[in-house]
Structures are given as structure tokens and as C-alpha cells.
Amino acid sequence: MNDLAARSALTPPRRRHGLGWWLAIAAVAVALVLLPFLVKNYRVFQFNLVLVYAIAVLGLNMLTGYNGQISLGHGAFYAIGGYAAAVLMERAGLPYGATLPVAALLCFVLGFLMGFPALRLGGHYLALATLALALAVPQLLKHKAIEGWTGGVQGIVLTKPEPPFTLRLFGQSLNADRWLYFVTLAVGALMFLLAWNLLRGRVGRALIAIRDHPIAAAAMGINLPLYKSLTFGVSAAFTGVAGALGAVVVAFVSPDSYGSFLSITILVGVVIGGLASIPGAIFGAIFIQYVPNLADEISKSAPWAIYGIFLIVFMYLMPGGVMGILRKAWARWRVGAAAAPPSPAAPQGEHRP
């Protein structure tokens, strides 16, 4: 944990990116745009879920990875976000895009309030308190006082938004799923940009300082209660947005969709992807989405045992998550590259001090 703090504290001087860097970015962007037209609809639907989970994992990573507060209750915020979208779309007739800010705001407020008890509870006690949230929310959604809105155990079936224009590419049309892919991608990009902006600067350093040494952080003048509660709120808001998008993508919400296992799944995504890593959320999301399917294909008798084996193998081989091993590989490659005679083409600015 300490080396992470040290690395983040030493913000590297701004680098000028070479042409190759920009070309790579452009290639990735083009690939992301073309991707949904190259695969079957069902795969697009899975990609949408990966993007949704990535946002949720990113939200929890802010709290757990950067700020060191463990939450076993983020499934609850995911559920609240999902229900906010479903109720607003199907009962109030709001367009799906408008539900996202509402879900974010609602979850921010609830998360902020949840942050208050979090101030008094540390470590495992906080984890248990949030677990209570994850257990309670699916039951509360069935409560008869709000059954008129939430549809009780039956849940709500959503209408999938149709794309606003028609388009054909490689013989595949821009249908509801492909349109949602671009919506999810755009929202995801925005959320990642927001997170990156928030975490790379003063705020990020403050969060990490609180995680690593709260007393020292307070001595440095960081307002501990405020930062902790705000982090909880922002983290919940991210997960809420993911929940709302997830509800639109799946086109159905019900209490059974948001069991307590969901919260643990999101936490698994955070750890697998890599604690305190923004891109790690994507790898975590890929794990969440595909490993259960893989486990099911391997064994019908004990899919969860297979899932467990995957988890143990991942943790054993990559104790720092996927991003941990990528960082190590990158560092080793750079050491190797530095040992070799420098090629004259390499601009000096590419090397970090």
C-alpha cells in the first residue's frame, strides 16, 4: 500500500505525448466504435454489461482502493440506481438519459448519509454495517408501502430505448443494443474521466493519505469526516449510475436481481482488477461478467467451486490484481529497455525521472 502512496504522491511531470501515442488512442477509439458491428447482438449485450460493471467497480474502487473503506453494500446502491431508472422511466415517463443524473444524485445523498456511521466504524465493522444495507435493500423494495412504484416481487419490465437514427455498418443495423452500447460507452468514458480528474490530484492524494495514515492526514489539514463521507457519496453515485444503466440494458428490475451476492461480486471486481487503479475496473468487470459463464460451462454440478478456484488462482498469480501484474511487467520491460543501448529515435522526454 505504501509504495502506491509514494508513487501517487510523486506526480510525474507532464509529458508530451508522441505521435505514436495519439495514433494508438485513435486506433482504440475506432476499434471501440466498430466493435459492436463486428459481433452478434448477444455479445453486444454482454459488452454493455461489462461497461456497466466497470462503472460500478470504479465507484467501489474509489472507496475501497483509494480511501481504504471496505463496503459490502454497494449492491444496494446499484439496486437503488436501477430502481430509480425503472420507476422514472416506466411510472413517470422520463427519458432514460434523464434518469442517470437522478440516480447519481439519489445515491450520492444516500451514500453521503451512509458515510456518517462509517466515520465511527472502521475496517471490518464498517464492512458489516454496509452488508446490512445490501441485505436490507432487496427486501425493502418489496415493501407494500412502495409496491405501487416498485412492482413488488414481480419487479418492473422496462422498454428498451430505440436508437434515434438508423444506420447500417458491415451489414448489421444500429439496433437498441448497439445504440445502448454507445450510450454506455459514452457514459462510461465520462465517468472514468471524472474519476481520473478527481483522483490524480489533491483529492486523490488526500484519499490515499487518509487510507494509509489517518492521523498524519488529519495533521496535514485534511478534513477527515468530510472527505470520508464525500468519498462514500461519490462512490455510491458512480455505482448508482451503473445500476441505472444496467437496468436499461437488461430492461428488467426485481428484488431478486440485486441479491446480497452482487455486493460481493463488485468487491471481487475491485480486487481482481487491482486496488487503487482506474483502468483495473475494466478488468474487474470482465472477470465479473465472464468467469461465472465460464464456470457454468466447465461444471453444472459445482459452478461456484470452479468460480472459487478461478478466484484463488487469480489472487495467487496476481496478488496486486490484473493492474498489479501489468505494472510489474511494464516496469520490468522498461528496466530491460533502459539496459539496452538507447535507440536514437527515442525522444528523451519519454523517460520518466
Binding site: Q154, G155, V157, G246, V250, A251, S257, F261, K300
Partner: protein
Amino acid sequence: MNRKQFTFAAAAVALAFAAPAGAQKKYDPGADDKEIKIGAIHPYSGPASAYGTIGKAIGAYFAKVNDEGGVNGRKIKYIPLDDGYNPAKTVEMARKLVEEDEALLVFNPLGTASNTAIQKYLNQKKVPQLFVATGATKWGDPKNFPWTMGWQPAYQSEAKIFAAHILETKPNAKIAVLFQNDDYGKDYLKGFEDGLGDKAKGMIVAKISYEVTDPTVDSQMLSLKASGADTFFNITTPKFAALAIKKAAEIGWKPTHYLNSVSASVGSVLTPAGVDNAVGIYTASYLKDPTDPQFQKGKEWDDWLGWMKKYNAAGDIKDVNNVYGYTAAQGLVQVLKQCGDNLTRENVMKQAASLDLTLPMLLPGVVVKTSADDFYPLEREMLARFDGKTWVLQGKVYGR
């Protein structure tokens, strides 16, 4: 052979050849000359993984059918998927079956919420959502959802059976009803009131609900006893059923007690409630209980046991879910047989809506029957009475 006879014979031969030639082979995605792809979604993981048994039993039955030559010469390719009882995952799996695996139909998906999640999608895609494994009454709605069909007796059908029994044996009963305050409880209650008809208002002297979150149903039971009822319809899930049975005994209330089949388990309901307190309770059932000695003989039992041993050896012979899967798979095989060489999704629904058969592991007298406007295949059940050890079937079949 004179000329007349010859003409007749020739015509017969011509007709014999013409018939198969006339019945053109027709296929939708998921079917061809060699195989029929059947997708299924069951919870192999997650909170309801005990029901995964059903999915495995279905696969084991298809293996037997394939070993015996398949259906009309085509093998069944079974694609079982796991949704972990999570409706969001059910949606993903249904889409996989339709869009990637291109199954002819989605068979026996389990759970009310899970089926609600995929009903709209499958009906839009015009893919059969056949013989769903849930007791909710909404699955038999061919007008709005012509591609969805139920299987087991719906809650309302079962409640009507209890109502019929009460009207027959105790027409002047004063009835108290305890029900869970959700769709499931209300579904049962509606069927019960419909079953009693005009007399419902006069006969039901008390109906009280409880919430799933309630710790006990003690106060409800006291109020129901105070209503002076002599008959009790107990619409509760297992935990509350056990509590209600126990409380009734504690307060000395001994009405004629009808218990919904949802909670008919001896092991998880009647034993914790105290088997002595449960003597005399009625429930309803439609499948043969593999632990009941009266069914453990004859060809039907031998066939079942032989299949269990050869194809489903890992399964528990005592588990009624194996009987369920076996029977549901047999229902589907019959539909496919009736389809002949016209294996379109439309014809699958058409044939599923024209069934009239008995199956070996259904109770005697229980039939599978459907029509274009009756999408409830199983509606008959037999009453059973608890004798302190096991459910004793009462013989008469009720319903439809």
C-alpha cells in the same frame, strides 16, 4: 387381382407415398434434419441451486430419448444454462440461447421473476418460452403472450381445488384464510374466492395477511381463531407454514386445515411444526412421490428407476425434483413428436396448445391438457391428508 382391386391398391400406394411428400419439412432456427436444439435455463448456482436438479434431470431424459433414436429421427441437442436465480442473468442467458446458440425454444426456465424478465423479449422474438417452472397464474395468457406457456398447476388452479373440496364436504364451512401479502399469496386467495363463487363472501369469515418480514404469525393466528372459523386455508411459505401449524396447536384451534402445496414438505415444514400437530392437514399434489411405497411398483416405476440408474445416477431417487424434470421433459418430447417435420416455432406453440395426454409419473387421473385458449397444461390435482408420517392420497382427482 381384378381391375377394381388393382385401382384401389394403386391408389392406396400412391396415397402412402403422397402423404410424406405432401408434408414438407419446415424448419426455424434450431432445427434441421439431424437435430433439434433445446435451450433451458435453471439455477445451478445461487440461492435456489437445489432446483438445478430439474435441469439435470431434463438433460438425462433427453439422453435416453437420443439413445433410443431421438424424436422423429432427430436428436435433441440440450443446451442447459445457469442463471443463478438472478433475473438479470436470465435475460443474458435467454439472449444467448436465441441469438448465439439459436435454440428452437427456451424450455422450463425457473422462477417467477426470471420468467417475467424474459417474457417480453421472447414474445418479441417469437421464440417459445415453453412450460415455465413457476406456479404464478399469469403464464397462461395466450392473448397477450402467445409464446409463453406454463406447466405445473397454477396457484389459482390449486386454490380452486381446495375450494371444490370444501364445497363438497363442508358446504356450510366458516373459513379463515392466512396469506402472504404478495403476488403469490394474492394469486392463491383470488383462486380460492373464485372457486367458492357466490358463496365466498358468506363462507370466508376472516382473511388476514402477514409480511415476509414478520417474525411470527402468532397474532394473526389468534385473530383467525377468534373469528370462530372451523376451516382454515393456510397460504404460507415454508417457514410461516410451520409457525402457523405450531401456533394453531398451542392455542387449541383445530379447524379443517388446508395447506398450499408450496409448503407441503414433511421434512422442512411439518417436522419442525411437530408432526403430531400436523395430523389431518390437507394438501394437493399432482406428481408421484418417489418415496411413497404405493407407487414403487409396476412398469411406470421400473421405467423411472431404470432411467434414474442409467442416465441420472448422480441424482437422488428420493428427490421429487427428478420426477418433475422427467415429467416436464416427457411433455416436451410429446410436443416435438406432434410437430412431425414441421419444426417451426409457430408449430411448436400450436402443438403445445393441443395436448391431451397422461404421463407415467403423474398421479393417476392427472392429465396434461391444453387448447388454443387454455395455456395451463396441468390443472388437476389430488388431495392428500397427513397421517403423522406421510401424505396419504385421497384418491379423487379435482380440477377442470
